[in-house]
Symmetry: C2
Subunit: 150 residues, 2 copies
DNA sequence: CAGTTGTTTTGAATCATTCAAAACATGGTG
DNA sequence: CACCATGTTTTGAATGATTCAAAACAACTG
């Protein structure tokens, strides 16, 4: 290995957003870096929330650009799109692993939940009605800590 | 028990739609009977599909009426509303039990899947992040029998 | 059978998302 | 290092699902 020092230890993709985008076969642009940054700060954000965040960092960016970025990222496997019932689509960077979500029935906040049994697909239906199962998606609903005292 | 004969054997609610609606505290109307009928024929239907079905049975019914009926039914606990990612809301009569769904990734057809472990809530997350879990919703994704040969 | 209340109609607004054409910037090439 | 091809963003508008609101109407109560 032709590396030296300590900085090189960090995972390249996670540490360098630009490299991560490039590695996905996409061109590196300011809006894309800004969206990726926004997703790091808000791990479960809507297109609109990301538009707000990106607007601060990069004024003039259009909402459609954010949608475009998210679409490209999702297609490239850089981000995952989830769609909990009753709210707009949410985007998250955590991808490739098999984790699920818990959504607050009151304030709609979302948190990650590790896979229920430890591996993907972590569940197998008893009767698949002839379907060939590809994935299992689990959404837990409940009250978040903040909404329990109301 | 003050019943006699054989007809009384059937469950009142399931056998008599009007009684079922009345038992839910709602007024019995033609659009409501038609929507309930439509849901019996198509166990996982969108508001629009039900509007089509109702239109045949009761021409002149408005789409908004169907939405209104479905809203009232959902609030009353007569039907359940599910929202698989990527499609409009679906409504089903099967309610009160704990069953899940499998959705075809190709044609979006939906089938019921019995509860994975047999009772509600049938799953418990390992780390709830402080949430008080109320329900677990499971959606399986895969290819339906028809879409496997393409 | 008349009144009250809940329901449906009619018409329009809203939200999230996508489409399309033109202007523009990235990254490879000469 | 400038240029070019392609991919990306902007701008402007359309779409689909759903909800809102006021007026007309119909179901159950007494």
């Amino acid at each position: 290995m032709h590396t030296h020092g300590t900085v090189d230890q960090a995972a390249p993709a996670a540490a360098d957003p630009a490299a991560e985008i490039r590695a996905a076969g996409l061109k590196v642009t300011a809006p894309r870096l800004a969206v990726l940054h926004g997703l790091t700060e808000s791990p479960h954000a809507t297109a609109d929330q990301l538009f707000e965040a990106v607007s601060l960092e990069l004024p003039g960016t259009s909402l459609q650009a954010v949608y475009g970025v998210l679409g490209a990222f999702t297609t490239a496997g850089l981000v995952r799109r989830i769609e909990p019932a009753g709210s707009a689509a949410l985007f998250e960077r955590r991808v490739g692993d098999n984790h699920h979500h818990i959504v607050c029935t009151n304030c709609h906040s979302v948190r990650d939940v590790e896979c229920v049994t430890g591996q993907a697909p972590c569940l197998t239906p008893s009767d698949t009605a002839g379907f060939v199962v590809q994935t299992a998606e689990v959404t837990f609903w409940g009250l978040c800590p903040d909404c329990q005292n109301l």
